[in-house]
């Protein structure tokens, strides 16, 4: 059993103390994501200074995986420009869904979510904030 690998300290910390929960007054980009099968919800709001993320809000409710993933995502994208965010999003999503996972190192704290790879049903929990982010950026 690798449940300890899934429910790492840092995940539970983000689940219980999610960062960046305050709604933004006038977001430049926003989207809401729902996992219709389990009901998990995530709202992503962003403001930009030029091309660079200035403000982030990630709110929602659901399991420890989707909520901690959202919280860590908010931290990870702060200060990145659109291009960098979309590269990170793509690479992170790939790291959870492709056959071979490598390069945990490039993700920093986010790497804690790699434990989810062994629980295919839960992968979409970890992805939900990211696909919602993609939507906010492409709208």
């Amino acid at each position: 059993m690798a449940l300890e690998e899934l429910y790492r300290e840092v995940i539970l910390d983000h689940y219980r103390n999610p960062r960046n929960r305050t709604a933004l007054e006038e977001p430049h980009a926003a989207a809401e994501g729902v996992n219709p099968l389990c009901g998990d919800e995530v709202t992503v709001e962003l403001t930009f200074g030029g091309d660079v993320v200035a403000g982030v809000s990630v709110r929602g409710h659901g399991c420890s995986i989707s909520q901690s993933s959202g919280s860590m995502m908010g931290e990870a994208i702060k200060g990145l420009d659109r291009e960098a965010i979309s590269v990170l999003s793509r690479r992170f999503q790939e790291s959870l869904t492709s056959e071979d996972s490598n390069s945990e190192s490039e993700f920093g704290e986010l790497a804690a979510l790699q434990g989810v790879r062994r629980y295919p049903v839960r992968v979409k929990c970890a992805l939900l904030p990211w696909t919602t982010l993609d939507e906010a950026l492409s709208a």
Binding site: L3, L12, C38, G39, G62, C63, S64, I65, R122
Partner: protein, 401 residues
């Protein structure tokens, strides 16, 4: 306690501690073999042929209808419509009876603990007819609010529809008393029997409702088939919701006339192989005896409630004692999300469901978006409950609560 695990091939095949029987039950070998045997020998389409195979098929199909009638104490097989399941049965009543008889302003009285299958069809027909929805609430301990029910009856609802047993809370409303009171005010009474019929002896004569729907797959039977029972005079008042072969008396270019009940509600090729499986499921349950099924259910529910109440920070949603409740037990554990619970339990081969259980309005009343739910059937035993408890303890450990 029953000891029938050896009848269920899925258990030998490693289904583990399957505690999601309220979503769908495992199938005994007798059901699988009946279907397999039938489909590989005398199978043919029904009601259509003068040849031997087809008449044999037809007899077996009609046998399911008469066994269903017998199983729920209906006096006549013609009161039984074989349909796809509870959901289809309730939609047939809402659209087919409600669509014909509801007028703007007519009230449809539901309860907040209904499954979506007993809410959404009524919303759809309300939108079409201008009828309005009304809801009875629940009490603190997770039972239907009977006083509230009586007050709502004063508003003269045209339809009263309620579940025979909540799939979330496990609570069992007093169907016969509710039906009697509702019928006394002239309302049509519809009972969602999806959870009740598999776990308690049910007799439509003594319940006294107008319609009762239930599903084969929750009753140890196959998917794709279910039963809508209706009083004959109510079935006569109901329009078919689907048109096609077998449900007609005559088809002209511009209009058609319907066959007699119940056939007018069974358009097209019906679930024939499933009907054979459903008969086998009735036979299997009758062999055990529904009284014994109910006793097993009650004993195990009490054991589970007791063990669960000993787990720290575990909160049960629904009645805490075995009275007037069945073996669908919803709970939460501290701040562990139910999906996390389900994943952790799954690692120990304990299958529980987590989510809103197709009862979002009820979850809102309970003030939580999701619960975990353990539910039992004839093959469930104490060890399954014990495994659940150990798994919950591990979850507490992992989450540090």
């Amino acid at each position: 306690m029953l000891d029938v695990r050896q009848d269920f091939p899925a258990i030998a095949a490693g289904a583990g501690h399957f505690l999601d029987s309220a979503a769908s039950a495992l199938k005994p070998r007798a059901v699988l073999e009946a279907m397999n045997q039938f489909a590989g020998t005398v199978y043919a389409n029904v009601h259509r042929g003068a040849y031997r195979l087809s008449t044999t098929s037809t007899e077996l199909y009609e046998k399911a209808r008469s066994r269903a009638a017998e199983f729920i104490g209906a006096s006549n097989p013609d009161e039984v419509v074989l349909c796809r399941g509870t959901t289809t049965g309730l939609n047939m009543v809402a659209a087919g009876w409600g669509g014909e008889h509801l007028r703007p302003g007519d009230r449809i009285l539901l309860t907040v603990m209904e499954h979506h299958a007993n809410i959404v069809p009524w919303q759809m027909v309300a939108r079409r007819t201008g009828a309005v929805l009304d809801y009875v609430g629940i009490t603190e301990d997770g039972h239907l609010d009977r006083d509230g029910f009586v007050r709502k009856l004063d508003l003269q609802p045209r339809v009263v529809a309620f579940t025979g047993m909540s799939n979330v809370l496990g609570s069992i409303p007093p169907a016969a008393a509710l039906a009697e009171a509702a019928r006394a005010t002239g309302a049509l009474v519809v009972v969602d029997g999806a959870q009740l019929v598999p776990h308690r002896p049910v007799d439509v004569q003594s319940i006294g409702a107008d319609f009762l729907a239930f599903s084969g797959h929750k009753l140890l039977g196959p998917t794709g088939i279910g039963v809508l029972w209706g009083r004959p005079e109510r079935l006569e008042e109901m329009e078919p919701t689907e048109g096609g072969g077998e449900m007609i008396a005559n088809v002209e270019l511009d209009h058609s006339t319907w066959a007699r009940i119940p056939h007018r509600f069974e358009a097209g090729t019906p679930p024939i192989i499933e009907a054979v499986g459903l008969t086998a499921a009735f036979d299997y349950l009758d062999e055990i005896g529904m009284e014994s099924v109910a006793a097993h259910d009650a004993e195990l529910t009490n054991y589970a409630l007791k063990r669960l109440s000993e787990v720290e920070q575990l909160r049960i949603q629904g009645p805490l004692t075995g009275e007037d409740r069945g073996g669908a037990i919803s709970f939460t554990l501290g701040d562990v999300h139910p999906h996390d619970l389900a994943t952790i339990l799954d690692q120990r081969q304990v299958s529980v469901r987590a989510g809103h259980h197709c009862a979002k309005p009820l979850m809102r009343v309970l003030g939580m978006p999701a619960t975990a739910r353990a539910s039992i059937s004839v093959y469930t035993n104490n060890e399954d409950i014990d495994a659940l408890i150990s798994g919950l303890e591990e979850a507490s450990g992992l989450f540090g609560i």
